[in-house]
Symmetry: C2
Subunit: 315 residues, 2 copies
């Protein structure tokens, strides 16, 4: 393990990219009414998260759950200091995002060809070609662009991915002008040791502030990976979802996204400067649970509110 | 952080002390029939765990759920290589344990006086005086003795405990002849940073092989703490409970014990040599769930069986 974290990196505010309105709701069978989505995003905006993935401009036929993203973006309160982003798959999607005054778009590829072939019917290289005009168009309009790399550690078809492969995809995305990179442990199968191997490979090639981790909690290692990345590598941005909303499509019924409230609690308990109010996130998780009909996946949502606040330290 | 783990320590087999039959069932409102307890312990015996806390010789009036421990110990299959232990609070309990041919007893105190006052109506010092004849009697009869130290990191009444206080209690227990020590994060509130502070203090005073960690998953940090202890400190024994059975009495409804299957999966994924079959543990978690009426707390129990086995690595 190389050492990337410094006293300075540990004083940087940790940022949460809240993905429940997009990555969470996309995996639900039902359509959540537009007004409820807007309420949810407005509540999340007041929790201290710095970015909210508020929708997707994928074809409504492909993802009907988010067919109302145009309307959602027009109606939400835009709180200063919070970035509202959306997934954009192609130039048609970019037009819609532009019309809805989206500040930041996200494009998505993966480390594994087998995965992109199943997921977006293209090789990784083909997906990058497809995204090139989207990224260029977004940059021309002054939008920020985030690049997702799924299966950055494990692929459901290819097994463990060599860090060099993920690094190669990351460098291509950066060459295309992407502002920041999100490395996804799509299967939730990465151990902290796997995560260190990946971060040892990629960190010399990107400023830490441009990198976020998108960990899944399928096997219970999400919090361990977040703390490994923050404590050991100075990574200060994490994608997560209130209540852990968002299934793992490769293990139906299992939990997917790391729960924002658990990640925030663990970071605070570890001394990270992070301005997110985990109790407000638990409220959002309960709200989502009422909408989706299944209970939050987080540990914090099971703890009585009086036990959440971190006590004054007596040493 | 000091460095205690070595290449050698990482080759030592990791041992699981399975506590669901005692610590788990003790927190349930209902009485599980004796025959079901025996079936459960026999199933756990075949999973690869090295120790099973199979019962308690506390007064049946105080813990009616385990009033049948005498009968349980007489009827279980004793698999070679597995140690069957029981909680023993006093000399009367030791007599019962002796009559049931118990191999190993566990005595229990805490780092915090406020906690022991609430829990066993004694200061820590008084509890040690009370346990002295129990430990001496057990040793005289050739039994092994484990010493539990609850609130080793955080106390619900006193807040964070200074590592020196926990170290002091540990040294007293070792002086009394206790064979091994279990450090308990009773509240589940310890971060890996807290755990490192504790282990930095205690590790110079005990052989690693005599130490186990008893972590709770109340706030989702159990796996992170286990991996910190194994990777950084060479700790090779962990107390856990199939399905995470066992509530946190200080946060009703929250999860308590770390789930054995999640701990085993994470250790294997990190390269630890551990002979426990996590699929058999999930079977035991389901069995417990059927007995107690509430679902397992673990992540692995939500994953389809076909996704549990760790795939062949392709690097």
């Amino acid at each position: 393990m190389l050492s990337f974290a410094t006293d300075e990196s540990r004083r940087l505010p940790v940022r949460i990219i809240e993905v429940s309105p997009r990555d969470g709701l996309q995996h639900e069978a039902l359509f959540v009414p537009t007004a409820r989505k807007i309420d949810l995003i407005n509540a999340l905006s007041r929790s201290g998260v710095t970015e909210i993935e508020a929708g997707s401009f994928i074809s409504p036929a492909a993802v009907p759950q988010l067919a109302d993203s145009d309307e959602v973006f027009r109606a939400i309160d835009r709180v200063p200091g919070v970035t509202y982003s959306a997934l954009v798959p192609n130039e048609r999607g970019l037009e819609r995002a532009r019309a809805a005054a989206v500040q930041k778009i996200a494009v998505f590829t993966a480390a594994s060809d087998s995965f992109t072939r199943h997921n977006i019917k293209a090789t990784v290289r083909e997906s990058l070609v497809r995204f090139t005009p989207v990224i260029q168009g977004a940059k021309r309009d002054g939008m920020l662009v985030r690049g997702y790399i799924s299966t950055a550690v494990w692929c459901p078809y290819e097994g463990r991915m060599a860090p060099q492969i993920t690094l190669d995809v990351m460098r291509r995305l950066l060459d295309l002008g992407v502002d920041d990179i999100s490395l996804g442990d799509t299967l939730g199968r990465a151990s902290p040791a796997d995560m260190r191997a990946l971060l040892d490979a990629v960190m010399p090639h990107i400023e830490p502030v441009r990198l976020s981790l998108h960990v899944h909690d399928t096997y219970g290692m999400a919090v361990a990976n977040v703390l490994t990345a923050w404590e050991g590598y100075g990574i200060t941005a994490f994608d997560c979802s209130a209540g852990g909303l968002g299934g793992c499509p490769y293990a139906p019924g299992a939990s997917g996204n790391a729960a924002t409230e658990d990640v925030v609690f663990a970071l605070k308990a570890s001394g990270a400067p992070i301005a997110v109010d985990e109790e407000l996130i638990v409220d959002c998780a309960r709200r989502l649970s009422a909408l989706t009909g299944h209970p939050p996946h987080s540990r914090l949502s099971q703890v009585p509110p009086s036990h959440i606040r971190q006590p004054v330290l007596k040493v």
